[in-house]
Structures are given as structure tokens and as C-alpha cells.
Symmetry: C2
Subunit: 354 residues, 2 copies
DNA sequence: CTGATGTGCTTTAACGATAAAGCAGGGCTG
DNA sequence: CAGCCCTGCTTTATCGTTAAAGCACATCAG
């Protein structure tokens, strides 16, 4: 084992070069396997670098190459409340794994309280701390997303942004998915009187899921017996949506929640009122980021491949950074229905244990 | 509103200086409010900088100042399985908030599969991409933690590392906490025949919690009727621990799980066997990162202030980076017992809705 | 009226890496 | 054997920022 010096002073390329007896330039060329350097020198330089534990200074490289060697994962602060921990972790995992393969650092930028007038993530980009950014959703009303995506900097958005047709996005088909799970309640479980609890309607996801629900009930001719209530993706909103129905709860036999958190809140409210799920009311959620699997009964939901979305988005981002211009502007990944107990598909307590 | 140029070319200090008619040096001094620059020039430089949307190049700054302006949050890959998403998100939130206040970027480094011989996070530090690191726990057997903390680089560990007395740590008192919650089962709920399911015993946390459990049962004179089973913090381990007891399940009236995930798994197993919780068996968990609140019955647990731990650790890290040498080596934050249904404290269904 | 002290900038140099251009010496071609 | 092209390095310059030193010019004390 080579003894790695514990000195505070970092090892620079110059140190490596001096040990071999060449200039720093030669060492640089040797390490990049230039054809203009003799095999013998290359070997010596590589050996010296390994022995000294040389690691190039990222700052010097970034400055010289005009490339940070890092990408940013931008999380508008509003997101924290709207999306759950698990969603973000899946995204982070996906981004990290691709970035790791490319020897690129991942910088996480929460928007914080834009103290400097400039949004925190705009500073990140302008200071060239990152070569590009993955933006994980945001409110439709967030002007920063548009500014970022039109700034000319490489940006890939995770989600759907129909109002930003020029942006590059990777998402799922919320309309089709919500429509499919609604049809499941109607066709498989014979539910005819449905309520839909939406997410915050300044989020595209919420708008699309509502549209999917409406398409399904319209197609089935159940418009008269169905209705929509606005929520905000929080557990409490789900609880409120059910609670505020009062006696009208008996007018419905199925609830399509726009996400799992609200479904859980709704489930609690239904249970509190002594109603059985799925017996009296069948419910479904959306996301499948963990929670829906754990409840009693477990919640039937749409599984969103968050990690895959992030992975695809990050690969696309690297393409853009590398100057690839002919990639797809908008990609849509498939989702799957995960059938559990809350719709009546899987008997309670019959959950498999691996 | 100043029109921010959308050019691909970034604005440098030279651009700002030229517009005012001074050199880049003068502009630099003006922006740093040097006393050697006239008030008039300062005003003009500041105006020009704002107008052009000047943001200093982080790479150039890092190179010149020998400071990255970033800290790393290091997550050994083994951690992913051992700690949950919520724990990590709390830590990330805590680290981010403090870093944001200091205008510092947060770099998330998962260890990945040390492809380059050098652990990924060692590269991060050696390349000077970050000025310091927060390391979120790790197995006792992980040699990298020791190397990192002894490398002379600023590192703060979150958790307890008694075998690294020279490191700087911020943690909780696992022994006292597990002892307290065990005593709760004994003293408040009169349980006398207890099982403890540990986490992976190559983690200090698991070792300490086991010690706390043993201290409590010893103190109460219940050693004969109690025992310890090894788990690994996974939901499945909790399930297995209960399941593999067979008929011996009737020999116990309380289970102290070393974390909430296992408690949930155990809860499922108990329910599957038709046993009532807390009626037949009272159970408690540890962590309170979300899951334990959601189960039926909800799980009594120890609330770990993960975000606060991260915040304190990050503040300490900045102190070290800034050269403060007289800070506390080891800090311990207080935890609290969160009493819910699974121990018998709160009647089922009586959970408040805010 | 001269040397000391300020004021307000400019010049210089450095951080570390690396393309591009420069240059010495050997080998080859015509 | 003069001219040319390789080979294998060195020299030079640059990325953007900033500390330190330098240098005019003004002001003031003695």
C-alpha cells in the first residue's frame, strides 16, 4: 500500500510532474493519454500520481474547461409540502446513479427563501456551479421554471409542462393513468357513484389526474352520480374531503384520490365513521411511494416509477450538456396499476410476505 | 426590471469593470466593500453588477480562495437499506437549511460502487469539491469513516462513534432512550416478559439500544423472563422475529423493537396470528420518522430529532471549517417519548386530527 | 517647502489544469 | 545533403477572481 500523505497541503499536478522530472503540462497530457507523450513517461506519471494519491482539483478543472462537473437537482421549496419524502428520495437515487456513472457531482438546491432577490437555483446556474439541472416538478404558477428552461442552460423537467412546449420533459401520462384506475373501480368493482379528490389545482399533475377521472366517468355515463372535490395532496385534505361530506357520504361508493397521502387521510375518516373499506366505499390512491402499501387496508394505487423518471431525465440532461440536439423533447414512461385491498381486489390480511 | 442578457456567454467581473471604466481588481474590491475604493465607484460597480446580472464564477473563486463553497453530505451506500427515506430527508433538510444561510452548496455523495479504487466520497474531498463533510452514520465496520475523520479534513459525524473518540459527532443517547421506553412498558403498562429485537449489530445504534433495553430489564429484575433477538432494521426482520417464536409468543407480553420498521413488521405478524396489540402484546418502536404514526394501531416510539441533529452537525462543521478549535467534540441532543396506541397509552382511533 | 501619510486606483501574480504553439533532435525522402 | 516530418517534450497563455504590491496625486505637518 502506498502511503498517502496526510499533509494538509493538497497534491497538485506539479508535484506529480516534478517527481517524474517533467513539466505539469507533460503530466497532464500523460494522464489524458495523449499520443504525443512516450509510453515510458505515461507509465511513470501514472505511477507517481497513484503513489502520491493525486486527485485533480475540481475548481481548476472547472475554470479551465468551463465545465463544473456537477449537475443540480432543484427542488422548489413549495415542493416539500406537495410531494413526499419518498418521491424525492427516489428521484435523488435515480439522478445520483446516473451522475455517478459520469463522474459528476450532484448538487441539491432547495430554493430556500430567495434572500438575494435571485432565486437560489438561478444563482447556482449562473455561478456555473452546475452544468445543468433537473427540476422536480413545480407549481404551474412558478415563473422560475420557465425562466430556467428558457435561459439557454441545460434543464430537464420531471413531470409534464404542456404550457412550456419548448422545454425538455420526462413524465408519465397522468390523464391515462387516473382514467385507468377509475375504470378499474367502475368495471371490475361495479362502482357507479364516485368522488374524486384532486391535488392542488395549480399543479399540472392535479389537473391531469382530474381530467383522467372525468374522462372515465363520462365514458361510463356516470357524470350525474359523480363529482369532484378540491384537495391539496395532504393527508389532512383527504380527511377533510370525506368528513365534510356529512351524510352525503352515503351517496357514493367509491373515491378516487389524486395521491396516496389523501387516500390515507380519507381512509382514516371513513374508518372513524364506522364505514368499511372497500365494503361500503372502495378507494384508490396514486403514487405508490410506500405509504399505500402499509395502511390497513392497503391502498390500491398507480405505481409511479419515480426513480426511472429521474434516471431517464438525467441521461437526457447529459445528452443536452454534451450537445446532442436531436433527442426527444418529451418522454413519457409507462405506469402500472398496483391492486391491493382498498378497492376490493386483494382480501385484507392476504398480503404476501416475501 | 433590468433586462438580464440571455447570452450563452457568462458575465464576468471584467464585463462589470469595463462598463464602469475601472479594472477588474477595482471592481472586485468595490464589491467586497474595500475601504480603498471610493464610495462613488462602489455605487457604480454595484449598479453595473446588478444591471448585468453578474454572479461570480464559483470555480474561479474556489480556485483563488482555496475554498469550494460547498459541503458534502456523504451517505455510505449501505445506509440506504438500513435507514429509511424519511431519516435521510430530515438530515438533508437540516443540512440544507444551515448551508443555505451560509451561501454554501450541498453536494450529496452516495458512495456508489467505489469504481475507482478510491471511495467516491474520498474523491470528493481530495478534489476539493467540498470544504467539509457531514457523514450520516455508517456501519461500525466501515473503515472509510475512520479514514475520513482522520484525514485532517473537516468532518462531522451524525450518530455515536465511541470507537472514534477523536472525531466530532452529534447524536442522541440511544442507551438512555431505549432504556426509558422499556421502563415505560414495565412501569406504566406492567409488562414483565419482554423481547427486544435489535438492529444489525455492526451498527453502534443497534448496540446501544440493546444495551439500553438490557439495562432496563436488569434494573427491574426481569432478566429471567426477557430475551434478545437479532434483527436488521427491516420490516421483514420484525415479522420474522415474531413469526419464528412459534408458541413462545405466549411467553411474552411486550416487544421492544429497535426501530419502527421492524415494529411494523412485528405488528403485522402479531395481527396475522390473531393477537391483539397492545392487549396481548404491547409493542414499541424507535425513530418516529413517519411510519409509526400511520399504522393501526399507531406505534409508540422514541422521536429522534433528525433534522435538528443535522442542523447542529452542520453548524459545527462550519465552525471547524472556519478554524474554531474549541467546540464540543461530542454533542448529544435530547429525544422524547411519543406515546401512541401500541403500548396501550392512547385508545385506538382516538388519534387527534389537527 | 519637503518628507510623511492618505486616497484611489492599476499592475502583477497566483490559484491548478490544460489546450495550443514552440522547439530541439533524429530519421526520412528526393 | 538540404529540407521536411515525426517524436517528445517545454513554453506560453488562458479560464475568473482576488490579495498584495505599486504608483500617481493630493493633503498635511513640521
Amino acid at each position: 500500500m502506498a502511503k498517502v500523505p496526510t499533509e494538509r497541503q493538497a497534491i497538485t499536478l506539479r508535484d506529480v510532474a516534478e517527481r517524474v522530472g517533467v513539466t505539469a503540462s507533460a503530466a497532464s497530457m500523460a494522464l489524458s493519454d495523449s499520443s504525443r507523450i512516450s509510453e515510458k513517461t505515461k507509465t511513470m506519471v501514472r505511477a507517481a500520481a497513484a503513489e502520491l494519491g493525486y486527485v485533480p482539483s475540481s475548481a481548476a478543472r472547472a475554470l479551465r474547461n468551463q465545465r463544473a462537473g456537477a449537475i443540480a437537482l432543484i427542488v422548489p421549496n413549495t415542493t416539500r409540502h406537495v410531494f413526499g419524502h419518498s418521491y424525492f428520495m427516489h428521484v435523488l437515487t435515480g439522478v445520483s446513479s446516473v451522475a455517478n456513472d459520469r463522474d459528476t457531482q450532484v448538487l441539491v438546491s432547495t430554493n430556500s427563501d430567495e434572500a438575494n432577490g435571485l432565486a437560489a437555483y438561478e444563482r447556482v446556474m449562473r455561478s456555473k456551479s452546475a452544468d445543468g439541472a433537473i427540476v422536480t416538478s413545480a407549481a404551474v404558477t412558478d415563473p422560475n421554471v420557465e425562466r430556467l428552461s428558457q435561459s439557454g442552460l441545460p434543464v430537464v423537467l420531471v413531470g409534464n409542462f404542456p404550457y412550456l412546449p419548448d422545454s425538455v420533459t420526462v413524465g408519465i401520462d397522468d390523464v391515462a393513468a387516473e382514467s385507468a384506475i377509475t375504470r378499474h373501480l367502475i368495471e371490475v368493482h361495479g362502482r357507479t357513484r364516485l368522488m374524486h379528490v384532486t391535488g392542488p389545482l395549480d399543479h399540472q399533475t392535479s389537473i391531469d389526474r382530474r381530467e383522467g377521472f372525468l374522462a372515465a366517468v363520462t365514458e361510463a355515463g356516470l357524470v350525474e352520480s359523480s363529482f369532484v372535490v378540491e384537495g391539496d395532496f395532504s393527508e389532512d385534505a383527504g380527511w377533510q374531503a370525506v368528513q365534510s361530506l356529512g351524510d352525503r357520504i352515503h351517496d357514493i361508493d367509491g373515491i378516487v384520490f389524486a395521491n396516496d397521502d389523501m387516500a390515507f387521510g380519507g381512509l382514516e375518516a371513513l374508518t372513524d365513521q364506522g364505514l368499511s373499506v372497500p365494503g361500503d366505499v372502495a378507494i384508490v390512491g396514486f403514487d405508490d411511494f410506500g405509504l399505500s402499501r402499509l395502511t390497513t387496508p392497503s391502498i390500491t394505487t398507480v405505481s409511479v416509477p419515480a426513480e426511472d423518471l429521474a434516471r431517464v431525465a438525467t441521461e437526457r440532461l447529459f445528452d443536452i450538456i454534451d450537445g446532442v440536439t436531436d433527442g426527444p423533447a418529451h418522454q413519457t414512461l409507462p405506469v402500472s396499476l398496483t391492486l391491493r385491498s382498498s378497492c376490493g381486489c386483494v382480501p385484507e390480511g392476504a398480503q404476501a410476505h416475501r
